[in-house]
Every structure is written in structure tokens, then in C-alpha cells.
């Protein structure tokens, strides 16, 4: 051996007996579940009925258009995207306030976080829906937006917010979700800001940067790298939590799924399909975030 000898190769990882036993157990369980459903429950699978709710052939335009379930999925996506944007804004502002010296700002942000974190989401959503959206929206005149108006009836509006006639309904659901997830993002942002070393704040102040520049140029760029993983997790949680919004009759995926399950009576097929749709949605975002994280790490060096 000399200096130029390559390092010894790593041992290959092999599957052991324990691994095979585990695979066997999982396979057995699946087999048993299928057996129960087929032979004991005597359940007759009928996927075509449910799949028909994904897309339908529209006789008028003579083209395939999305049916209830896919429309629900689009609504879920729109809800989740807008709520993510809004929740991030809440999270950044409130998260910063949590770290401020000013007592009033700290009280406001702390109250917001504690109120939401210590209440079941369903309860919060009902309170929000019956007070805010049924009392305040009419007062603000949001109910009266002209669904035939130039902007509201434009394709752009439809693409971004869905059916204009359901806009106030959509807005209520979106706000609800954003407020709810914003509280969790607040805590992530606070942790990120506070995780920046004291020395970084001091050095930034010592070169005479204004408080705003200290945050924008020094603290936030370093915090963002640290909070990217928990933030990504929270965004995916937000997509899943959007299912709760179905309780206030927002016509997102879970809401339409209950309707489809009821009208078709194909409960198993509907929920398995909807579960699969959620999985695809969330998993693709997880992959996207993992990719972004890797890129952030690379640029950090």
C-alpha cells in the first residue's frame, strides 16, 4: 500500500432475514385485507362509476372536461396556493413581532398564536365562519361583487379564484386556512429569527445597518435556509388541512368526495381514489421542496 492506493471500498448493504420476514408480514396483511373485503364482506368493486366523476364528456362543447372530483382538486389547489401565500405573509409579520422589543406587538402576535394553537381547528373554523364570513363580509360588501363584471367573469379570475359566484365562499375558506396555518408559520419564523447567532446581529448593527437592513440583509437570509425544511412540511400540512374546510361547505376535494360517495354509494372506491389524489398532490410538493432544499444547500456552499 502507498499514498496512491484507493481507499478500501465500502461494504455493500444486504437485506437480512429480518427484512424478508417484515416484507412477508406486510404482504400477508395486505392479502388478508383484500380477502376480507372480497369474501367476507362480499364487496363488488365498481371503479368505473367513481372514475366517471373525474372527467366527463361534455356534449355541448364536445370535449372532455373535469367533473366534480377534478374540480374539487382544482379548488383544493387554488385554496392551498392562496392560503400559503397569505399564511406566509402572516407568519413573517407575526413571527417578526414575536421577536420585537415592543410589548404591544409581542402581545398581539403571542395572542394570535396561542389562540389558534390551543383550539381544535374545527372549532376555530366554525367560529371564524359564522362570525367573520357571515357578519363581516356582507358589511364589507364582498358578497355583492358583480359576478358578471368584466374582471370577475374573465378567464383569469376563474383560473385564480374559481367560480365567481362562489367567490365569497372561497375567500372565507382561504382566509380561515391562512389564519390557521399562519400561526404555525409564525412559530417557525420566530425560531428561525432567534436561531441566528447573537454575533450576527451585533456585527450587522456594528457596521451601522438600520434595523430593517439588519433583518433583510443579514438575519432573514440566514434564517430562511434553516427554516426551509419545517416550512415545507407546514405547507404540505396546509394542503392536507384544507380538507377541514369542507365543513363550511367550500367545494374542495373532500367536500365533493362526500357528495360523490353519497350519490354513487361507492364509499370504498371514492375515498381510496380521493386519498390517492391527495397523496399525489402532497408528494409532488414534497419532492419539489426537497429539490429546492438541495439547491439552497448547494448555493450556500
Amino acid at each position: 500500500m502507498n499514498r496512491n492506493t484507493p481507499p478500501p471500498s465500502k461494504l455493500k448493504k444486504r437485506l437480512t432475514v429480518v427484512d424478508f420476514l417484515l416484507y412477508g408480514a406486510v404482504a400477508l396483511f395486505i392479502f388478508y385485507a383484500v380477502y376480507r373485503v372480497n369474501d367476507v364482506l362480499v364487496y363488488h368493486w365498481n371503479w368505473s362509476k367513481v372514475l366517471g366523476f373525474l372527467v366527463k364528456f361534455d356534449d355541448e362543447s364536445e370535449a372532455w372536461v373535469s367533473n366534480l372530483l377534478l374540480q374539487g382538486l382544482w379548488t383544493t389547489l387554488r385554496l392551498a396556493l392562496w392560503a400559503t401565500v397569505l399564511a406566509t405573509v402572516f407568519g413573517i409579520v407575526m413571527g417578526y413581532w414575536r421577536t420585537c422589543k415592543n410589548l404591544t406587538l409581542r402581545i398581539i402576535s403571542r395572542t394570535y398564536v396561542e389562540l389558534i394553537r390551543n383550539m381544535p381547528p374545527v372549532v376555530f373554523i366554525f367560529i371564524f365562519y359564522f362570525f367573520v364570513s357571515s357578519q363581516i363580509f356582507p358589511a364589507l360588501g364582498i358578497e355583492d361583487i358583480d359576478s358578471e363584471g368584466a374582471f370577475a367573469s374573465s378567464a383569469m379570475f376563474h383560473f385564480m379564484f374559481g367560480d365567481p359566484q362562489l367567490f365569497s365562499n372561497f375567500l372565507a375558506g382561504m382566509l380561515c386556512l391562512a389564519l390557521f396555518e399562519g400561526a404555525y408559520i409564525t412559530e417557525i419564523v420566530r425560531a428561525g429569527i432567534q436561531s441566528t447567532e447573537k454575533g450576527q446581529w451585533e456585527a450587522a448593527r456594528a457596521i451601522g445597518l438600520s434595523p430593517f437592513n439588519v433583518l433583510r440583509d443579514i438575519v432573514i437570509p440566514q434564517a430562511v435556509r434553516k427554516i426551509l425544511p419545517p416550512l415545507a412540511g407546514q405547507f404540505i400540512t396546509l394542503i392536507k388541512d384544507s380538507a377541514i374546510i369542507s365543513l363550511i361547505s367550500i367545494q374542495e376535494l373532500t367536500f365533493v368526495a362526500t357528495e360523490v360517495a353519497a350519490t354513487t354509494t361507492r364509499v370504498f372506491e371514492t375515498w381510496i381514489l380521493v386519498g390517492f389524489m391527495y397523496f399525489i398532490l402532497c408528494y409532488s410538493f414534497a419532492l419539489l421542496f426537497a429539490h429546492l432544499e438541495r439547491r439552497a444547500k448547494r448555493s450556500q456552499r
Binding site: E202, A203, R205, A206, I207, G208, L209, D217, Q300, R301
Partner: protein
């Protein structure tokens, strides 16, 4: 030993006291540093040396007493403290370079944000000072890629980019490997020879002997003795400074 003429008072500290909770960290500090003067602050750890110089740019807030920097009073909660800080360069024990910015960006961010000058102009200033600390070839690297000594030299250059009237050094060599210390001290000596006003908290007594106009000895939050280096090292006037020197130089 400095030949540079010593001018008007740049930092005037009068009756300064500070507490952390009930603990008295600083008590009745009086110190005036004139422009061009080099003052070395020494004393046992926990004696309030760092706290004192950190009050000058208000990284620490004092409770009693007054501090004037170049004729402006600095006090807790004041507005425009940034303007004072731009006149006061500071070098920390742990460097505190911004790890997400390249070396040159560490230097340009201050002038660009504070004075609104262009990136090109700021880069020109930055490269000038990087050359001065003999590290221009590392401009595009990131701080974690540099050795401790290199990082500290970048930190000195970062402070100089704001063309400060006074430089504060807070134990600049304490976190360095022994072989890195000389490089940083050399830069500080060059800076002193160029006439920069400096207050250095350091245990480097060789540096103190060579550069200081005055030595300030602190213990338990008070200034115990102020003397010229020769007097301080050869003939300290208090028991506490004698004890400190014997511990520091005794072995």
C-alpha cells in the same frame, strides 16, 4: 511610542455604570480617548473590559453616566445610533463575518446600505482594504472557507470600509490558533502606525507594549489603573495590577 500627534477628544466616558440585573458590571468608569490615541484595555476575565467598549457603540446599554463619541452623546434607545456606529469600527473575538455573503460582499454591504453608493464603487473600496489586510486573493470565497486568522483580517477590513474615526477591538486574537495571531497583530500595528484611533481589549502584552499610548487596567468593573506602558509593566502602582501582571507574565 507613537509619533502621531494626539488631538481632540474622540470618546469621552464619564461616570459610566452598568448592571446586569443586580450584578454591577461596570462602576463609575471615566475615560477619555483622543483622536490618534491607542489605548489598550487589559484585566482579568469578567472585569468588564468588553462591556465597556461595547457601550461605546451601544451594543450594550448603560444605565448611568454619559458617553460622547466625536461630540455626539450616545445613550440607550437613541434614534440615529446607526450614524454613530458608522464612525466606530468594531472587531469581535469570534469574527462574526456574515457566512451567507462572500468576502467582498461582507465588505460592501455596509457602505452600500449606509451611504447608498453603487456596487462598483463599494467593491473598489472593499478591494482596497482587502489588499491592506493582505487577503485580496480571497475576495470571492465565503467566510467558512477561510482560516480563523484570515477571517479576522476580513473582519478588520469590513470595519475599515466604513472609514471609521475610531476602531474598537474586542479580544481580536483570543479565538485564534497561535500561528494565526501574529498576522492579525501585524495588521493592527500597521493600522496604529497609520494614526488610527484605537481601543483594544487584549491579552497580547507584547502588542500593548509596542503600540499603546496608555494601558487601562480594569478589575471587577472598575478602572483600577491608567498608565503608560513602560510604567505599567515595570512599575505597576496597585496590588491588583501587580497580581495580574505576575499571573500573565510569570510563567
Amino acid at each position: 511610542m507613537s509619533d502621531n500627534k494626539i488631538g481632540t477628544p474622540l470618546v469621552e466616558i464619564t461616570g459610566l455604570s452598568k448592571w446586569y440585573g443586580d450584578f454591577s458590571a461596570l462602576y463609575d468608569i471615566n475615560l477619555t480617548v483622543s483622536s490618534g490615541e491607542k489605548v489598550v484595555v487589559c484585566g482579568p476575565s469578567g472585569s468588564g473590559k468588553s462591556t465597556m467598549i461595547r457601550c461605546i457603540n451601544q451594543l450594550e446599554e448603560h444605565q448611568v453616566g454619559t458617553i460622547f463619541v466625536d461630540g455626539r452623546e450616545v445613550k440607550p434607545g437613541m434614534k440615529n445610533i446607526e450614524e454613530v456606529r458608522r464612525d466606530v469600527g468594531m472587531v469581535f473575538q469570534s469574527f462574526n463575518l456574515f457566512p451567507h455573503l462572500s468576502v467582498v460582499d461582507n465588505l460592501t454591504i455596509g457602505p452600500m446600505r449606509n451611504k447608498g453608493i453603487s456596487k462598483a464603487e463599494a467593491t473598489e473600496i472593499a478591494m482596497h482594504f482587502l489588499e491592506r489586510v493582505h487577503i485580496a486573493e480571497q475576495a470571492d470565497k465565503y467566510p467558512p472557507q477561510l482560516s480563523g486568522g484570515q477571517q479576522q483580517r476580513v473582519a478588520i477590513a469590513r470595519a475599515l470600509c466604513l472609514k471609521p474615526k475610531i476602531m474598537l477591538f474586542d479580544e481580536p486574537t483570543s479565538a485564534l490558533d497561535p500561528e494565526m495571531i501574529a498576522g492579525v497583530l501585524d495588521i493592527m500595528i500597521e493600522l496604529a502606525e497609520d494614526g488610527m484611533t484605537m481601543i483594544c481589549v487584549t491579552h497580547e502584552m507584547g502588542f500593548a507594549r509596542k503600540v499603546a499610548d496608555r494601558i487601562v487596567f480594569m478589575d471587577e468593573g472598575e478602572i483600577v489603573e491608567v498608565a503608560e506602558p513602560e510604567t505599567f509593566f515595570n512599575n505597576p502602582s496597585t496590588d491588583r495590577s501587580k497580581l495580574f501582571l505576575s499571573q500573565l507574565l510569570g510563567h
